[in-house]
Symmetry: C2
Subunit: 188 residues, 2 copies
């Protein structure tokens, strides 16, 4: 971030008055440009004892299996984001049921949310970002071919605690033990 998106003048890094962190501040118009974590939302879409996975058609992790998920957009709720991503990546209609997992990923400035959902129809088809969509029995999840650690944790939680509790955890956080940030609500 080098230039002000409002007036086009160069930015400098400084701690604004009343703040305690360095920010990108415009030397011309004074605007402070904050940078904040992004929300990624996905779905654990179930059909009986099977779960919907997509094989990625794009980098990173092209060819690896993932849950339908992606960046939340302005103007939608997290549940709407889960439905939209599942539609876009797997052509699948779902009914969102409950929150399944909240996984912080501080090193890449992301918060990953997964919702438990029910697949409404069996006709699924890969979207532009998927090579393939498939329903896997929980016993047959391709654990060694999963694209992302948050996907692995969310699926692991589905296997370990089917239909119950929310996994709340953090990946790679500085200055805090895993234990402190690994909780399952409300049963833990």
């Amino acid at each position: 971030m080098k230039y002000c998106s409002l007036c086009g003048h160069p930015l400098r890094v400084a701690v604004p008055p009343g703040d305690n962190r360095p920010r990108h501040v415009c030397g011309h118009c004074g605007e402070v440009h904050y940078q904040n974590p992004k929300v990624v939302v996905g779905a654990i879409a179930r059909w009986e004892d099977r779960v919907l996975l997509c094989r990625r058609a794009i980098e990173p992790r092209l060819g690896w299996w993932t849950l339908p998920a992606g960046f939340m957009e302005n103007g939608e709720s997290t549940m709407e984001a889960a439905m939209r991503e599942t539609w876009e990546e797997a052509g699948a209609l779902i009914e969102v049921e409950d929150l399944h997992a909240l996984i912080d990923v501080p090193p890449i400035q992301q918060v990953h949310l997964f919702y438990r959902a029910r697949l409404l129809r069996l006709d699924i088809a890969p979207g532009e970002e998927s090579l393939e969509t498939r329903l896997f029995r929980l016993d047959d999840i391709p654990w060694g071919e999963l694209a992302f650690e948050t996907v692995r944790l969310a699926l692991r939680h589905e296997v370990d605690a089917p239909g119950g509790g929310i996994l709340v955890t953090s990946l790679g956080s500085k200055g805090s033990s895993d234990q402190r940030h690994r909780r399952t609500s409300p049963t833990a």
Copy 2:
């Protein structure tokens, strides 16, 4: 957003290849500037039958009562954000326990998360953004003087379901009924 933060040239609004939404795209360097919802994190900090509230020293809602909460920063987890905000706004040390509420606010592009927490010490003091900090018994919460609707919902959930379940709901979402987005997990 008018100018490219990377190269300073004017932006135009266009649907990038492979995308399905208008974005701010740089006509010079080609960078796509995405805009995404921000995460606000707060704490329901309890001391026995009382909960910690702060009276706001800043706009909006100067003078109204709120839970300690604020924008999540890059590099921290949501639990760390809850601890930091509670320290900054109320000088209070907490131990975060469980996720309490996830409240989407699509009209203002925000996702509000509240954690249930235990106040570790009774010495609290207003930070720069607070006029006053006080512990309220659940019976005495100043319902008519709360700053924000998400704060009211989070406190209401604490009163209605003490220590159990996570409120997942959405405020003012377009195109979806409140009922569809109002769930308490996993008891509902």
